[in-house]
């Protein structure tokens, strides 16, 4: 690849990043009626990106990542309430205690809640990781699905956190417009942070190693790579960001309960997989692309095909999995390999190449 060509591509990438940032910043002001939907888009992008760490880059298809989303939500709720009230009294009584959070209490609670969600979800990932990483292939998928389903049921039977009845989250102390802007910003920042972190993470040894685990884990072990360590860290990173998104989403929704909001295995839990597959798993931009496309399709079908929306989504999944397995970016990579740097170099040796590059 020539120097000019490289520069052109990096310019294009820079413009792309800038365009997305600008969109994210002005969207709630330009489309004030869609603030919630666009906030959900950022959450969806975060979902797809974090699923892809394991599912795409490392080849471990987890169906249970939603576990961390729900766990983050509940951890944050317990921290936010526990700072001011007795959690058991708050969740059981519904009026038994007079609920009133001051502005300072509310924002301290939410900040600490997000931090706690991130930390504890990372810990949960480390603990569960050591249990489920003995499983490979379809068994890993089913094992993680089981963990997520069980988590929903366990929380549903746990009265301390409100059981199946759920928890009403602290009420935002302010106008509805500022509330939606506040949560929009949280969603936007968390998605962008996730993207930035993964971009950095995928630039070196870590990505190469988890890709090696995807391609041939036994070979990687035979070469002396500490595969378990990488697997646990990869899952912890996904859990960290998913925990944050759960904490934000719980507060944005205002009310949380175990099956539909916190651990929605068959909606969000499946969406994260579908979005990554649609955009092209194992790439950085694929999940972003897939999430955007999927979210738009989903919102459009919900509006104009009400009653048939699940059929439409199901059809997309089937077409995707049967005819279009490589996803959008995977397809592009097959079609224009040179653009992705997949080229036969006509230079014969490394020394010749270096000399020629210097001469250019």
């Amino acid at each position: 690849m020539t120097v000019a060509r490289k520069r052109r591509i990096s310019h294009a990438a820079l413009l792309g990043h800038a365009a997305i940032l600008v969109f994210g910043l002005v969207a709630p002001f330009v489309f004030p009626n869609y603030t919630f939907q666009i906030a959900m888009l950022w959450i969806m992008i975060l979902f797809a990106l974090t699923w892809d760490i394991m599912g795409g880059q490392m080849g471990y298809n987890s169906l249970g990542n939603i576990l961390f989303f729900g766990a983050g939500m509940y951890i944050s709720a317990v921290v936010q309430i526990g700072l001011v009230y007795d959690v058991a009294a708050y969740t059981s009584a519904f009026g038994g205690v007079k609920v009133d959070f001051t502005t300072a209490q509310y924002f301290t609670g939410i900040a600490l809640g997000i931090v706690a969600a991130a930390i504890f979800c990372t810990l949960i990932a480390v603990i569960f990781g050591s249990m489920v990483f003995g499983l490979r292939g379809p068994y890993f998928a089913i094992g993680t699905l089981g963990v997520a389903l069980a988590a929903g049921e366990l929380v549903g039977g746990w009265d301390y956190v409100g059981g199946g009845g759920g928890i009403s989250m602290p009420v935002y102390p302010g106008e509805p417009e500022s509330r939606s802007l506040f949560f929009y910003s949280l969603c936007f920042v968390s998605a962008i942070t996730t993207f930035g972190f993964l971009k950095w993470l995928y630039s070196g040894r870590f990505q190469t190693t988890i890709n090696a685990i995807r391609d041939d884990e036994e070979k990687a072990e035979a070469m002396g790579i500490r595969t378990t360590r990488y697997k646990v860290v990869a899952w912890s990173i996904a859990a960290f960001f998913l925990g944050i998104s759960g904490a934000i989403f719980g507060n944005m929704a205002g009310f949380i309960e175990p099956l539909e909001v916190a651990f929605p295995t068959v909606t969000f839990g499946i969406f994260m997989v579908v979005m990554s597959l649609l955009g092209g798993k194992g790439t950085l931009w694929g999940p972003v692309l897939g999430a955007t496309l999927f979210h738009v399709i989903k919102e459009v079908t919900w509006t104009y095909l009400l009653g048939w929306q699940w059929v439409a989504l199901g059809a997309i999944i089937i077409v995707n999995v049967v005819f279009f397995q490589q996803g959008i970016l995977g397809w592009a990579q097959d079609k224009w390999p040179e653009f992705f740097g997949i080229v036969v170099d006509d230079k014969l040796s490394a020394k010749g190449a270096a000399a020629r590059e210097a001469a250019e």
Binding site: D216, E221, M223, G224, R226, I342, V343, L348
Partner: protein
């Protein structure tokens, strides 16, 4: 010459099948040791035992004097004892350069290094070794798109960049066309002489192993049949019988 690997009295059964029975052999440091035998004589089983793929039933395997028969695959690999596979195994969706760089030894790697970039000297070295095996031009292609013979060369290159003390090669020339075989023999010998890597080679191609190895062990029916220099093995009536099926 001291022995790098010492195998003594190793047996391995799979249910009722005795794959290895009381095998003893030594791999001297700096040499090229060959292991031959008819199909099903237990050569690959012995390799798998050495690199820790499965536990052995009895006997002992030491590497540089250290007992390794109870250690696990990655631990043994980090000691500097590496194997290649009969069915070539490379990381198919990654390009050749990534295949190389991931194979750089990770013996004493602190946790934070997990997130580091590959240093420039690693990239240079990966390119140099790819050039050595003749794959420099294809370094940006996915490894899975290479031909079988080229994948074999890539696997060999990956083993070289890992700087092992011993390299266990399971049929390095199987499936490679005859003109490439000469080039591969030459490279194996240079890896041994220039890089100082001790080689332990399973090979079916008699011409290759007789040219390459300086001492050869022959297995048959899971037992050690003969040991000697290439000339001694070639003239050993038991070896000839084992290969031709005379009993």
């Amino acid at each position: 010459m001291t022995n790098l690997i010492e195998i003594s009295g190793v047996s391995k059964r799979f249910g009722g099948v005795i794959a290895n029975s009381q095998i003893s052999l030594n791999v001297p440091e700096g040499g090229i040791t060959g292991l031959i035998g008819p199909n099903g004589s237990g050569k690959t089983t012995l390799f798998n035992s050495v690199v820790g793929y499965h536990p052995i039933d009895e006997g002992s395997i030491t590497f540089e004097g250290q007992e390794i028969s109870r250690m696990r695959v990655p631990q043994i690999a980090r000691l500097g004892l590496l194997r290649t596979f009969q069915q070539t195994r490379i990381y198919g969706k990654m390009n050749c350069m990534d295949n190389m760089m991931i194979s750089v030894p990770q013996r004493r790697m602190p946790l934070a290094r997990m997130f580091s970039k590959f240093p420039a000297e690693v990239i240079d070295r990966a390119e140099a070794i790819l050039e050595f095996v003749g794959l420099y031009q294809k370094r940006m292609l996915p490894a899975g798109s290479l031909s079988f013979g080229q994948q074999k060369l890539l696997e060999f290159a990956m083993a070289l960049i890992n700087e092992p003390k011993v390299l266990l090669l399971d049929e390095p020339t199987a499936g490679i066309n005859p003109t490439l075989i000469n080039g591969l023999i030459d490279r194996l010998r240079r890896a041994n002489e220039d890089f100082g890597i001790t080689l332990f080679v399973i090979e079916h191609n008699m011409r290759v192993i007789m040219n390459l190895a300086d001492n050869i062990y022959c297995l048959a029916h899971g037992e050690m049949l003969a040991h000697g220099t290439p000339e001694e093995i070639q003239n050993d009536q038991r070896v000839v019988d084992a290969y031709l099926g005379a009993h």
